[in-house]
C-alpha cells in the first residue's frame, strides 16, 4: 500500500516536473549570435553563465565564423531577410551603410543603466547613423607603434611619444640585421581591404593623400600617394621581413612575439598579446608610441570597433538587445577584470574604463586611449573628402575597390611592379568601379 502511494506521488511529481519544464521551455527565447574567433569574443562565450543566470528566459546559441565568411553570411542573411541571426558581430565600416539600408535595429533604448554617453565619442560616432546608435562597441581599437625597448636601448635610440615617419624609417634601418633575422619593422602586406589597405590608407592619410576628391574622382595619381607608397615600399625593402607581401595581422604578431621585429605598427589590441608572457618572448620589453605622421596634422592611425548589432529580421529583438546591453555594459568589463584580470578587459569601448585607476595601471591603456581619441573618421585626411572612414571609405563599393587595389600594392611589395605602376593600375580600376557604380 505504502509502495503504491509512494509510486503515485512520484508519478505525480514527475508529471508536474515535466509540465513545468515544458512550460518553462515554451518561454525561453533563443538568441543566435554570429561572431568571430577573437580572444575577447571567446572570453565572452566563457562568461555567459553570468548572463543566463540573470536571464533564465533567454538561451544563447553561438555561431563562430571566419571573418570574411561572417561578413558574407551576415550580409546575405540581412539582404534576404533570412533571419538566421539575432545578434551579429559587425565592424565600423558596415554599421552606417547597413543602418542606412534599414537593415539594423536602432540601439537607442538599451536601458538607463546602460549609460550610452559613457561610450567613447569616436566609437559612438563611427557606429551611429544620423545620430542614432546602431551597433554597440564590444571592443574598439586604433593603431599605434609597438617597439622593442631592449633593442632601442642597445642601439642608443630613443622613441619619441609622437614619432615622424622619417624617424621611424631611420630607426627601422638602424635596427635591421638581416643575417641575424632581425628586421627593423614589420608591416602589413597581405592583400585585402581590411589587411594591407587599412594600413596603407592610414599612411596615405598622414602623407596628405586622399582616396577621392569632393567629386568622387580617384586621387591615386597624386604626388602625395606616390610619396606615401614609395616610402612604404622602400622601408619594407630595406628593413622589412622577407615575404612581407603575404603578412597580415596574425603573421606580424607571430614575428613580433618571436622577437624578429624592432617595430610593428598595427592594431592597439595587439598590445595585450605582445605583453602576455605566456605567448610572447618579448613580453617585458615592449614600448608604445603614437602612430607616426609627417607633420601635416594627421597621424597614421585608424579607428575600428567590433560591435554587436541586431538585424531587422530578427524574431527575438528584445532578448537580443538584452544580451547586447549585458555584453557591452560596464558590469561586463568588471566581470572580466574580476575573473581574468584588467589586462584582458575588452579595450576601447567606454570612457569609464580609462578613468578607472586599476585599468590605468595597464601598460598600454594610456596610449590606446590617446590613439583612439586622435582618430577622427569624419575628417580622416588633410584635405576635404566626401566620405567617412579613416582606413576605409564607408561606401558599399569599398570592399571590392579596396581588395583590388590591395592586390596591386601586395604585388608591388613582392617586387612585381613599381609604386608608379601599382598606383596607375589602382587609379584606373577605382575610377572604373566608381563610374560603374554611378558616382561620377
Amino acid at each position: 500500500m505504502r509502495l503504491k502511494t509512494t509510486l503515485r506521488a512520484a508519478t505525480a511529481m514527475a508529471v508536474c516536473a515535466a509540465g513545468t519544464s515544458a512550460f518553462a521551455d515554451s518561454h525561453v527565447t533563443t538568441v543566435t549570435i554570429a561572431t568571430v574567433n577573437n580572444g575577447d569574443m571567446i572570453r565572452m562565450q566563457g562568461l555567459t553563465d553570468d548572463f543566463t543566470a540573470k536571464h533564465p528566459d533567454i538561451a544563447l546559441e553561438w555561431v563562430t565564423l571566419e571573418e570574411n565568411v561572417l561578413r558574407q553570411r551576415v550580409t546575405q542573411d540581412i539582404a534576404t531577410s533570412g533571419g538566421q541571426f539575432d545578434v551579429m558581430t559587425i565592424g565600423m565600416y558596415e554599421t552606417p551603410i547597413w543602418a542606412e539600408q534599414g537593415w539594423l535595429e536602432p540601439l537607442d533604448d538599451l536601458g538607463e543603466e546602460y549609460d550610452a554617453d559613457d561610450i567613447l565619442p569616436a566609437m559612438r560616432a563611427g557606429l551611429s547613423h544620423e545620430g542614432t546608435l546602431y551597433a554597440a562597441p564590444f571592443y574598439g581599437e586604433s593603431s599605434m607603434v609597438m617597439y622593442r625597448t631592449d633593442l632601442f636601448e642597445e642601439a642608443g635610440l630613443e622613441m619619441p611619444k609622437q614619432p615622424t615617419w622619417e624617424q621611424i624609417g631611420e630607426f627601422a634601418r638602424t635596427l635591421t640585421d638581416k643575417e641575424a633575422e632581425q628586421y627593423g619593422i614589420c608591416l602589413r602586406g597581405k592583400a585585402g581591404w581590411g589587411e594591407n589597405m587599412a594600413f596603407i590608407t592610414t599612411v596615405a592619410n598622414s602623407f596628405g593623400a586622399r582616396w577621392f576628391d569632393e567629386d568622387w574622382n580617384a586621387q591615386l595619381d597624386s604626388p602625395e600617394w606616390l610619396e606615401a607608397v614609395t616610402f612604404y615600399n622602400d622601408l619594407m625593402a630595406d628593413a622589412g621581413p622577407p615575404g612581407a607581401a603575404t603578412n597580415g595581422f596574425n603573421e606580424n604578431l607571430a614575428l613580433f612575439q618571436q622577437g624578429k621585429c624592432g617595430m610593428w605598427i598595427d592594431a592597439t589590441v595587439a598590445a595585450s598579446f605582445v605583453t602576455n608572457p605566456e605567448d610572447s618572448e618579448v613580453a617585458d620589453s615592449v614600448g608604445f608610441a603614437l602612430a607616426p605622421n609627417t607633420g601635416k596634422g594627421k597621424n597614421a592611425n585608424w579607428l575600428w570597433a567590433w560591435a554587436l548589432a541586431v538585424p531587422s529580421g530578427s524574431d527575438a529583438t528584445d532578448a537580443a538587445k538584452e544580451f547586447i546591453a549585458w555584453a557591452t555594459s560596464k558590469d561586463y568589463l568588471e566581470l572580466v577584470a574580476e575573473k581574468e584580470g584588467w589586462a584582458n578587459v575588452p579595450p576601447g569601448s567606454r570612457t569609464s574604463l580609462y578613468e578607472n585607476p586599476a585599468y590605468q595601471a595597464v601598460p598600454f591603456a594610456e596610449m590606446t586611449l590617446e590613439s583612439i581619441q586622435t582618430a577622427d573618421p569624419e575628417n580622416p585626411t588633410v584635405d576635404e573628402v566626401p566620405y567617412v572612414g579613416i582606413q576605409y571609405v564607408a561606401i558599399p563599393e569599398w570592399q571590392g575597390i579596396g581588395t583590388a587595389a590591395g592586390q596591386e600594392f601586395s604585388n608591388m611589395l613582392a617586387g612585381q611592379q613599381t609604386p608608379e605602376q601599382a598606383l596607375a593600375r589602382a587609379q584606373e580600376l577605382v575610377n572604373e568601379e566608381m563610374e560603374a557604380a554611378g558616382y561620377r
Binding site: 574567433n37 577573437n38 580572444g39 565564423l65 565568411v69 558574407q72 546575405q76 533570412g82 595581422f249 605567448d279
Partner: protein
C-alpha cells in the same frame, strides 16, 4: 645482370613514390603535429618537427568550447544521406546510359558534367532564396539534397564507367530468363558492380564530408557540420593555430580512418576501367 638493374630501378622508383607520397601527406601530418603543440610552439621559427613538449591542451579546449558530437553527427547525416540518395538515383540512370544508349546519351553525359563547370557561388543566391522560401535554411535535408545534386554527375559518370565493363550479354541472359527490369538491376547488375558502387560511395562520401562552400553558407546552428566546426577556429586577430589544428585533426580523423580501412576498395575503384 639485367635483373639487378631492374631491381635497383624498382628501388629507385619506390623511393620516388615514397617521397611524393610523403610530400602530399605532409600538410596533414603538419596539422596533426601542430595540434599537439602549445600556441607559441606552433608559430616558433625554426619549427620543431617532433622534439617539443607534446600536449593535449588544445584538444581539451576545443572539447570544452564546442559540441563536437553535434557537428560530427551532422557531417555523418549530410555526407551519408547525400551519397545514398545519389546512388539510388544514379544506379538506374547509369544502367540506362550503359545498356540502353540512345543517340543522345553521350551528350547527356557531357551535359551532366558541364553543371560541374559553373562556379558554385554563381547559384548561391538563388539557392539561398529557395531555401528561405521552403523554410529549410540551416536544415540537414537541404544540404543532403544539394550535395546530392552537386555530386550526382560524378556518381553517374563513375557508375557508367563501371557498368560498361559488365558484359551486356549477362543482363540479356537474365532478361531471357524472365527477369523484370527491377530484378535485373537489383539482383544481376548491382551484385556484379558492387566493387564499383562501393568505391563510388566512398569517394562521394569523402567529397561530401569535405564540402565547405554550401555547408558553410547554408547552415548556422542546427545543421552545421565539421567544416563549420573548423572554420569557427580561424581568427582574424589572434594566434590560435594549435587550436585550429586540433579542430582540423578532429574533423578529418573519422574520414581518414575510413579511408585507411577502405584504401584497397578506393584504389581498385579509381583504377577500375583505366587499364583495359
Amino acid at each position: 645482370m639485367a635483373r639487378a638493374v631492374s631491381s635497383r630501378a624498382r628501388l629507385g622508383w619506390s623511393a620516388v613514390a615514397w617521397v611524393i607520397g610523403l610530400l602530399i601527406f605532409f600538410p596533414i601530418l603538419w596539422t596533426i603535429l601542430t595540434s599537439f603543440k602549445t600556441e607559441s610552439e606552433a608559430i616558433a621559427s625554426p619549427p620543431s618537427l617532433v622534439f617539443f613538449d607534446w600536449t593535449l591542451e588544445n584538444y581539451e579546449v576545443v572539447q570544452e568550447r564546442s559540441n563536437y558530437a553535434r557537428f560530427l553527427w551532422n557531417s555523418i547525416v549530410i555526407a551519408g544521406g547525400s551519397t545514398l540518395l545519389g546512388v539510388l538515383i544514379a544506379v538506374p540512370a547509369a544502367w540506362a546510359m550503359a545498356f540502353q544508349p540512345t543517340r543522345r546519351t553521350k551528350d547527356i553525359l557531357l551535359w551532366m558534367l558541364s553543371t560541374k563547370m559553373l562556379p558554385a557561388v554563381g547559384v548561391l543566391y538563388p539557392i539561398y532564396l529557395i531555401c528561405i522560401r521552403l523554410g529549410v535554411l540551416d536544415s540537414k535535408i537541404a544540404l543532403v539534397v544539394i550535395l546530392m545534386l552537386i555530386n550526382l554527375p560524378i556518381i553517374v559518370w563513375m557508375l557508367y564507367t563501371y557498368f560498361r565493363e559488365i558484359p551486356g550479354e549477362i543482363l540479356e541472359a537474365a532478361r531471357m530468363d524472365g527477369a523484370s527490369l527491377r530484378s535485373e538491376i537489383l539482383y544481376v547488375l548491382t551484385p556484379m558492380a558492387i566493387p564499383g558502387i562501393a568505391s563510388t560511395v566512398l569517394l562521394n562520401f569523402i567529397l561530401a564530408w569535405n564540402e565547405a562552400f554550401w555547408t558553410l553558407n547554408l547552415t548556422a546552428v542546427s545543421a552545421a557540420p565539421l567544416t563549420a566546426f573548423i572554420a569557427s577556429y580561424s581568427s582574424p586577430e589572434g594566434l590560435f593555430f594549435a587550436k585550429l589544428s586540433a579542430a582540423s585533426t578532429m574533423a578529418i580523423a573519422p574520414i581518414l580512418i575510413l579511408g585507411w580501412f577502405s584504401q584497397k576498395q578506393l584504389v581498385r575503384g579509381l583504377t577500375f576501367g583505366a587499364v583495359k
